[in-house]
């Protein structure tokens, strides 16, 4: 870092001194990378990162191809009116994807650079440039490339217009996603705003879940004949047409709509209109840039995220100390004095104040809404009979990080777990029990939502799903305990971004999920093939017995493993960088 200190007076973001700083940054990243390879774990991380990169590349190329094909079909069939749908899909993917994946990705906290004589413009540039390496940005860029190829193949003369529109659209998305992250980190850094964001998030989830069934209440009766179905569609079209028209007009003023509009206007030989749309899109990009500027400038001026807020000044507050304490003490507590109750209570409190984990739990519920709509609107018109196990399995994915890195959020508190007279296996038992109960609660919510959306599932499906959960949970907990001790990484509970995740842990735990789900799918499929669906229940229960035995056996070895890896756990989880 001496390189950064050695530079003279700094000028613009592209001056020689700024370039020296960028070079020092690149060297720093390189040294961190090389030093990371010194340990076996570091080498394993690199391997996992390579595999992840290949997977993400496949995902990006696949999505890019789908978007490109969609754009090609729409433009070549002169249905450019529907082109905004493609741009909206890319935009949502770009903006929501990072929040979904934030906790799994390793990110570099650029805040450490602020102690050096770095210009704001350089800091800003680096912040944006580092964002280019985000998975969502790479996938988004591949989608844009796909659209460009698709549109150009359909209408070669739109080659340059498409490039312009997509360039502006990409610039908006890159700046916007960085701005969103920067602001989320800001809101999460203070308790008051953190609680507001948490409450809004939960209200958002619940309202979506309640709103959708309400809107679809009238369509609970499935049409019996093609005539009835046609009549139903006609009625819906008439009913919703004004809404769709208004929504379409409104979205044209938003970035995805503007990009699509520019292309449509260019295709209709209205260059002035296309330029105007691109201009407005550019203004959106500028607005995103200014939102980001405002946040980064505050950080640049010395606002430290997570720092102690203003001091108490009121004397009156001091006099009501005892009253406040009594009030706080009367808050909820789990019964019993045992360390297990204390640990579960602590887990519950920490979870409620950790938005990334709440998001991980809530996101699958949100997806039930989307998936349920797909199954409701399938060709046969009958609800998918295996919807419940599919949704429950999906909900389990939200717990991946919680199972596989269950010490990650302890931070320096990990010392306490080793210092206290409570065996580590009891700590793990408490965490496992808490996660077990929490998942059942989540699965119950999924069940209620599925019933609301698709009607009552068959009794045998409910029983088989419950039996599968009894098998899947001990499996995940048993292996998760080992991952937590062998591949731990620090989670900063107040951050959505700037986390230093572990690709090795993420990949291994995703593989575990895949195995558990494949076993479930194979058993369900075989029983369906034999027309003996009830057989899934005893099969899963037998597997659950084995899984519970493995989990208990693993729990018995936790103390030994934890003590063996005590140094690594303390060093990794107490990292402050």
């Amino acid at each position: 870092m001496a390189d950064l200190n050695g530079v003279g007076p700094v000028a613009g973001a592209l001056s020689a001194s700024a370039w020296a700083q960028y070079a020092a940054m690149a060297a720093l990243r390189w040294h961190m990378f090389v030093n990371g390879l010194r340990s076996k774990r570091g080498a394993f991380e690199l391997g996992a990162r390579t595999v992840s990169f290949v997977l993400y590349a496949f995902m990006g190329v696949g999505l890019g191809t789908i978007m490109g094909a969609g754009a090609y079909v729409l433009v070549s069939n002169e249905k450019s009116l529907f082109l905004p749908a493609v741009f909206w899909a890319v935009c949502i993917l770009w903006q929501v994807g990072p929040v979904m994946m934030a906790s799994f990705q390793e990110q570099f906290d650029l805040g450490i650079l602020l102690r050096f004589p770095m210009r704001f413009r350089s800091y800003y540039l680096l912040y944006v440039v580092f964002g280019l390496a985000d998975v969502s940005t790479i996938i988004g860029a591949l989608c844009c490339l796909g659209i460009w190829v698709g549109v150009t193949m359909a209408r070669p003369e739109l080659f340059a217009w498409t490039a312009l529109a997509l360039g502006a659209f990409a610039a908006f998305n890159i700046l916007m996603v960085r701005a969103v992250f920067a602001w989320i980190d800001r809101w999460l850094s203070q308790r008051k705003t953190r609680e507001i964001v948490g409450a809004l998030f939960m209200i958002f989830l619940l309202s979506l879940q309640l709103l959708n069934p309400a809107l679809r209440q009238k369509r609970h009766q499935q049409p019996q004949t093609p005539q009835e179905r046609a009549e139903n569609i006609r009625r819906i079209r008439t009913e919703y047409a004004p809404w769709v028209k208004t929504a379409y007009a409104a979205q044209q003023a938003l970035p995805p709509g503007l990009a699509a509009r520019a292309l449509r206007q260019a295709g209709n030989r209205q260059p002035v209109g296309a330029l105007a749309s691109l201009g407005v899109l550019g203004l959106w990009a500028l607005a995103a840039a200014s939102v980001l500027t405002r946040r980064l400038r505050a950080e640049y001026r010395g606002e430290n995220l997570g720092s102690a807020p203003k001091r108490e000044t009121s004397q009156a507050k001091a006099s009501s100390v005892r009253a406040t304490l009594v009030r706080r003490e009367s808050g909820w507590r789990l019964g019993g004095s045992s360390p297990i109750a204390a640990l579960m209570e602590k887990e519950a409190r920490s979870l409620m104040r950790t938005l990334p984990l709440l998001w991980a739990l809530g996101a699958p519920l949100l997806m039930v809404l989307v998936l349920a709509s797909i199954y409701r609107n399938n060709a046969s018109g009958t609800p998918f009979s295996y919807a419940l196990p599919v949704y429950v399995a999906f909900a389990l994915m939200g717990f991946t990080q919680m199972f596989s890195n269950n010490l990650g959020a302890e931070g320096a508190g990990i010392q306490l777990l080793f210092l206290s007279p409570t065996p580590i296996r009891r700590v793990f038992l408490a965490k496992n029990l808490f996660h077990f109960l929490l998942f059942w609660l989540d699965a119950l919510l999924v069940g209620i939502l599925t019933t609301l959306r698709l009607g009552w599932p068959q009794g045998v499906t409910v029983a088989a799903t419950a039996a599968w959960v009894l098998f899947a949970l001990p499996c995940c907990l048993a292996v998760g305990n080992i991952f937590s001790l062998r591949m731990p990484f620090r989670i900063h509970p107040g951050r959505m971004t700037r986390q230093r995740g572990s690709q090795a842990n993420a990949l291994s735990s995703m593989l575990l999920m895949l195995v558990v789900m494949t076993v479930g799918a194979v058993v369900f499929w075989l029983c369906w093939l034999l027309a003996r669906q009830w057989m899934a229940v005893p099969v899963f229960l037998a597997l659950a017995g084995v899984a519970v035995f493995v989990w208990l056996h693993g729990l018995g070895n936790v103390d030994r493993l934890a003590n063996q890896r005590r140094d690594l756990l303390l060093a990794t989880l107490m990292k402050t960088e």
């Binding site: 997570g306 406040t324 304490l325 706080r328 931070g411 320096a412 306490l416 210092l419 206290s420």
Partner: protein, 265 residues
């Protein structure tokens, strides 16, 4: 013969090729305020981590209150309190919630935990911050909370790793009063700090570690006498401060004279 509060024999810790602590044998009597000093990187924190079960010794034995101590000595852990280097705080809890959690982890019943939590918060002047998350505390407030957590279960032996770092004079005075009270009631305190004035004022016995080896161990008077005996006859009468004793033992004179940094203004 009275059982020592802390007793080590040949305590050694290696990290690969590096020997951080080598063959440390020391004994701390019950009721002693013991200062453990050393320059940066001498092995103080490594030693205290081994003594509290946070780090496994490569060789040697540890006895606390006459019983062998290790990570698995759970009953013995109830007798010790620790303010470790990283403070062991849980940022997502409020101070009352954290103390309540710690109390229960040490096996206190709910009512006792609640009562002691309240008393400790008031004593540490943290009671009016009871709604704030620990992560939002200033460094000094976190130190005070870590100290409260270390004593909530009434330990017989207290290990403190740099407890006064970042603590203001008022809070430091308060902590010293609390420690003195504990000492009067028979507790043993093992302290590492760089603030020699505190050691001089509070500790009855001192050990000095340098480059992983114990280079001095005894009462302040014994250390003073040891250093004075090495001085020329004419200087034997002078009264040395702990800083002078420390520098003499650790051997500041043995270091190469620092090269002048001509570019430094």
């Amino acid at each position: 013969m009275e059982i020592a509060a802390i007793q080590t024999h040949g305590l050694t810790r290696r990290f690969g090729a590096l020997t951080a602590v080598e063959d440390v044998t020391l004994s701390v009597a019950q009721g002693q305020f013991f200062g453990f000093l050393g320059p940066n990187g001498a092995g103080k924190s490594t030693t205290i981590k081994m003594l509290t079960g946070l780090l496994e010794p490569t060789a040697g034995t540890i006895e606390i209150l006459g019983q062998p101590f290790g990570a698995g000595a759970l009953e013995l852990k109830r007798q010790i309190g620790v303010v470790p280097e990283g403070m062991a705080l849980l940022g997502r809890l409020t101070a009352p919630e954290y103390l309540h959690f710690v109390g229960r982890m040490y096996g206190l019943d709910r009512e006792t935990t609640r009562q002691r939590t309240q008393e400790l918060l008031e004593f540490m002047q943290l009671a009016n911050e009871s709604r704030k998350l620990v992560t939002d505390f200033s460094h000094g407030m976190q130190r005070k909370l870590a100290m409260a957590a270390a004593v909530i279960h009434g330990p017989k032996v207290l290990f403190l790793d740099e407890p006064f770092e970042g603590v203001d004079a008022i809070a430091a005075g308060m902590l010293k009063t609390m420690l003195q009270g504990m000492l009067n009631r028979g507790a043993t305190i093992f302290l590492t700090t760089h603030v020699l004035e505190i050691v001089e004022r509070l500790c009855s016995h001192v050990a000095i570690i340098s480059k992983g080896r114990l280079v001095a161990n005894g009462s302040l008077a014994e250390l003073h006498a040891g250093v004075v005996s090495t001085l020329p006859e004419a200087e034997k009468e002078q009264r040395l401060t702990l800083e002078e004793i420390f520098l003499s033992i650790v051997g500041a004179g043995g270091l190469e004279p620092a090269q002048e940094l001509s570019w430094l203004t």
